[in-house]
Symmetry: C2
Subunit: 367 residues, 2 copies
């Protein structure tokens, strides 16, 4: 898995047997700087077709290298049945637009699975998002299906909460109500607004509010907060997706322009994230649900404390309590999705992506 943050290549080695997903190893290999810059230049921008083609094959090589390095001396490559390769998204437009007379949604991941399969000798499943779009979905989110596999409880409702740049939840109903579709959507901002404000306040020296110390010591401006929470996004029914453009740099710039001290803006933005998450959970899950958090936001203890305060009946844990390294969850998810593909099990959740039907996600490159 390679995220849109362009950090690098996350490799998770996972054992799946009798429906149980057991993470074994996790390792992140950073992209070389020149590769990150090339990816930045092609992601949603003008480029030469040659650059995309070359990067497609180069990423195949880097992915194969990362897989070998992760397994080296720990797991023999020969013992691995399957690779689930998400690839690097360089464009995603889940909502259809009018294009040359057709309604077209699209998604574009690069990283050549033929290179990965040839270098590793391992069957490789790739292109997970395309079929969901073909079936009328937005091609995302795909992780909620895996949240079901990982977290479904016999009697309790569980909510998988990921606090990345954007925050999202999957409401996984108990086995006794397994027919009820999993609700999954972006709740709104995660760390993105907070991080942008911290970078501004520290002239780029800090990238995030460590443990929430800045927010904890400052003042929430409640009128400003109320205004933020009136954003029509929060009234939309799921499934829905929030974008980088919605709660990103521009949003932070608007806050800064008010002249309110940056500490207070950070406190207010943190409370904004907390409140939008809490409302989403309170609306879509029973009060005594178990909330399992992952993503960078879990290290913001102030944010986590505020969430606990707003959702007093909820039990709030992190995925680490379930043996899932919060940073590894997405990579683990694509191993699980590859497994579902070879088991011929449709793995998109129409309730989460908006697809007309559940379909087999993936494309198969033989060993």
């Amino acid at each position: 898995m390679s995220g849109t943050s362009l950090d690098g290549i996350d490799v998770a080695v996972v054992e799946i047997a009798r429906g149980r997903i057991q993470p074994l190893i996790f390792k992140t290999t950073p992209y070389p700087n020149a590769v990150r810059e090339a990816l930045l230049s092609v992601s949603n921008g003008m480029t030469h077709t040659a650059v995309i083609a070359r990067l497609h094959f180069l990423l195949g090589e880097l992915y194969a290298d990362a897989i070998r390095a992760t397994c080296h001396r720990r797991v023999p490559l020969k013992s691995i049945d399957l690779i689930g390769m998400h690839g690097q998204t360089i464009f995603h437009e889940g909502a259809p637009i009018e294009y040359l007379g057709h309604r077209i949604a699209s998604t574009f991941q690069i990283g050549d699975p033929a290179i990965v399969a040839e270098r590793t000798g391992i069957r490789t499943i790739s292109n997970f998002r395309e079929r969901d779009i073909a079936a009328g979905g937005r091609g995302a989110p795909l992780v909620p299906y895996v949240d079901q596999l990982l977290f479904r409880h016999r009697t309790k409702t569980r909510v998988a909460l990921n606090i990345g740049g954007i925050a999202n939840i999957s409401v996984v109903h108990p086995l006794t109500q397994a027919k009820k579709p999993t609700i999954a959507f972006d709740t709104g901002p995660g760390n993105m607004v907070i991080d942008a404000l911290v970078r501004r306040m520290t002239d780029g020296k800090a990238a995030f509010d460590r443990a929430g110390d800045i927010a904890r010591a400052a003042q929430v401006h409640s009128k400003m907060l109320d205004g933020m929470l009136r954003d029509p996004y929060f009234k939309l029914a799921p499934p829905k997706t929030a974008g980088r453009e919605q709660f990103g740099q521009d949003f932070a710039a608007g806050l800064i322009a008010t002249g309110v001290p940056l500490e207070d803006l950070i406190a207010t933005a943190t409370e904004f994230t907390v409140r939008s998450i809490a409302v989403a959970i309170a609306t879509h899950a029973p009060p005594e649900s178990e909330v399992i958090a992952s993503g960078g936001g879990i290290h913001n203890t102030h944010l986590m404390q505020r969430l606990r305060a707003l959702l007093p009946a909820v039990s709030l844990t992190t995925s680490a309590d379930f043996g899932i390294d919060p940073d590894a969850k997405e990579a683990i998810a694509f191993a699980a999705l590859a497994h579902e593909f070879v088991q011929h099990r449709p793995a998109n959740l129409p309730s989460a992506t908006g697809a007309r039907r559940a379909v087999l996600l993936g494309r198969d490159t033989p060993a």
Copy 2:
């Protein structure tokens, strides 16, 4: 199959049983003009990543439409087991270059197989060229493998000759020598130089020398011809590929600059094509081989007569004599290659592509 000429979408319906390839239907659906223009703009040029992503999904829709239109009232879609989808090449660089510290060859076909599989309900095999490149090959040519399947004779050597813009041959040894690798390579120019000269001579009113009438009535300049045939390309040992840049517009412009009358240039260019093909066949196949021609060049009767004159012992036929519409051959080839993939048979010829080994070509999208 969609060729680099960007004409449109060739659909061949083929029955394959007990090793026999039986073409049933062939239909070309032209690309809408706006799509052709968009493809031209992204093919080997600067573009926005969004355009490639959207075209990828749009072509999926157009391919599915073309398949349905071809089968309509003739073959029920439900009776079709498999689609072999070449896609539209928008970049190909079979020889590796130095790229960000790696040796990278690449190829790039668009047209989303997930859309095709979802719309038709038919299992779709795509991405044929990538695995050959992963195995160190140039990703082309892939048709010679199918020439073997179509044309291999018990005792006779057969040469599949395609005269398109560029001309190429596959030398298919008899069954009695089936261990001898098929030799396949571009012999040099096909119609490309001739066509460029005709367009110039007629101010674009004619696109080719119909039946070779211009060449037949004009004078070959033998000194000029000798110079052309000294091109180092003809000394290279196969496998080798000739490009549009090598025997295209620029080459024709150089000829025009000599001031020789255009008719004579057309006669000389035609003889150049004939001689380079004849030398290639004489060098790599026995004198009494059977040569099976396809491609637009077969309609140039002067060219075909000259070939017969230079290869007197050869029997020169066209693929139509074997039940293969010369225009349909490539589309038929990708149906056959899809069949080979699902039969788990490696279908690249290392002798033709330069790959280190024979590999399974394709990526599998389930129905």
